[in-house]
Amino acid sequence: MSRLLISIAAVLALTNAVSANEEEPTQETCDAAVAEARAEAAALPADDVSRYFAERDIQQALVEAGNGEFDDCVEKAERALLEARERPHSLKSGERLDILGAHEVPPR
């Protein structure tokens, strides 16, 4: 429970930081947020599932930037950063994420 409370506090701190800033996020703000999240994720072992979650959030942050939505970019990058720091996802032995690869077609 204490970990949950810490996580919530971290989210509150991040969101308050954004709301306190009256300036609209820019490409530069987005780039900085993505770089920070990317560095945090890269520090995790390659097979850490939270690293995978964080990298998917970073990918979406870049998509938002490509759409010119820098506020959404920053939000996704912050979520990636939190994922990499808090590592709320874990897989038990033998567990895997059931994701179809682009080369896989399920039997009909």
């Binding site: 509150l12 709301s19 998509v63 939505e69 690869g101």
Partner: protein, 683 residues
Amino acid sequence: MVPSAKKILLTAASVSLALSQSADAGERWGEYWGEPKAKMNPYVAGDMHNHNTCTDGSVAAGYSIDRSVGKGTAAAGGKNFDLDWFTLGNHGGSGNRDCRFSDASANIPGDNTTTYWSQTLGKTIDGITITKLKGTPNGTDTNAKMWRWQSIQEIEYPTIVSRTATYNKVLVEGLEWILPGHEHGDVAVIAGQNPRGYGNADKMAEFEYRFDRADTDAIGPVDASNNPLWSGKDNVNNSGTAGHQKAVAGITWLQANHPLQSYAIPTHTERQGPFNPSGTAGYNIEHFRDFNNAGPTVAFGIEAPGHMAEGGINGGSGSYTANAVGGGTYGMHGVYTAKVGGLWDGLLGEGRNVFVFQSSDWHSRGVYGARDASTTADFIPGEYTRLYVPNEKHFTQQSIIDGMRSGNSYSVNAQIIGSDMVFRARGEWDDEWKTMGETLRVWPGEKIVLEMEMTVPVANNSPYSFNNPLLLPVGIKQPLNKPYLDHVDLITGDVTGPIAPGAAGYAVANAAGVAGAAIVYNASAKIAKQIQATKMKSYKLKDGSVRLSFTTSFVASEKPFYIRARGTNIPPATPNVSDSAGNPLLDLNNVNVSCTDAACPSHLGTVNGVKRVTNDVQAWSNVWFYANPIFVRPHGTPKLLVEKNHELARKLAHEHHHRHDWDQWGQWGQWDYWAFNRDFDRD
């Protein structure tokens, strides 16, 4: 060899089905109304808010439609969701990806390379050739962006045309408007659109160009002499109070030009917190009032958030952070619509024609690909959320807008009920029933008879068959893929008439976070009756689904009021989910519940190694539907604004020979603040 997705699209099974044959519970309509040939669903299901790679979605524009309205299973895997209608509602602004292709992250065989406009100029793909990125140059190389007005005209609308022919369903080119000064909103302008053979989305594109704050293009389309076709754009006032005025101007433009062929509905309205007079953030109640005043027949609603599977251990369902008004979602709705006495009830308390809608806000499946059954972000349109509008013999684009505007509409998550809801009322001395959006006229003291019927389908689209973890603490073992209705709330509130702009109470101070949930906008609103499903009449239909019905009554006073309904699978006082009255708690509380079944999926967030109710499991567990209000007005009292605005729509339709079908009208007069320039006549 895996076939190319492009070929898959071209060879997809051609489905030619009338809407009346859609395969959900409503197909049995004739069973209980005794008309064997009456196979037409009373309502049809759709989605008006979704994204593709033209902006920040994960799949191609065509793929998104294929999965949403197709039947059966997609050729490369993944269930299709058989919606009856679909409004493509993608962001305004610009995008750097070629949206004839999906993003690599979607993991779609044959379509798994993210493709940028800079790589495809001059090539013919899916029968469309883009030779140049028009308007003000916007980025270089893979960051070269196409303005959305161009992709609306040249990519999305042609895709709508091709898919209309493929599926014989009603498809609309719409927009998720990034409002000046505010959050986002759903807009559609159907004037000019006719995907069954000709037409265009020029009016939709023009609105986007003129009024979307992310579209800063200063040129737009040009004529043969290179003169801009859409002159006079305000490219300055995009934030704060001045931005709000530009947003009002946008709604005024819709009302003036397309009063019956457009809508503008603010969406995920709590997400960015309160309105920021010097920035771009959410909405306060005065902004909804301004919009409805400026556009009485176009600004008639609020859309509750999508993104229902985004909730992790820190919250996030609906894409709401702790900074949202209310601090997050409540039963997968924002607090404006979830709270009894909240912002929506405040607007209904004025008698306004402001109705609630909900759609998917489909972008991606988070850590999963587009074909996977699980999601940590969004659901595909039709998979989880269905927006119902009345069916018609000749259902068209106009039918969608007319249905939404009428208020005769309801929104359902997780298929907790089907397409055949009945929610109607009449006075005991009158035989005329009134339904959602309509106004029942009664005599003070008259008994009001209210009927409600609904079908709980035998199954939903959930991939999970383990028991709902939120219900286990109250002793209910209910598989997540089997819809279950616990009760229906009938919520009433007094109608005291519209508040004039600038008058006391027109603007109300708002607050971010959970403090925003304490604001009461209509103190008279209350759960007047709570009807347990076990107390309803019930019988099984042929396919195993269950038809529920009840009749109850109210007594008319001398004051107007409204009755709205919501239903849920969550009993009152369910720990971490609902309060003792049955209201949804902040959804973040669901995280306190563990998911301990061996089948709980591996992507759920964990606390101390124990999986918690998060993401799609949370969404399939915490299920609600919302029905729009029936208004009740005693004889001798002034007409309600909802009645006047419905009359305006009828008058406009009559004056302009509105054929309830595709046509195109020219410029109309100004209707700004129409509501306040009329006498409050009595009947």
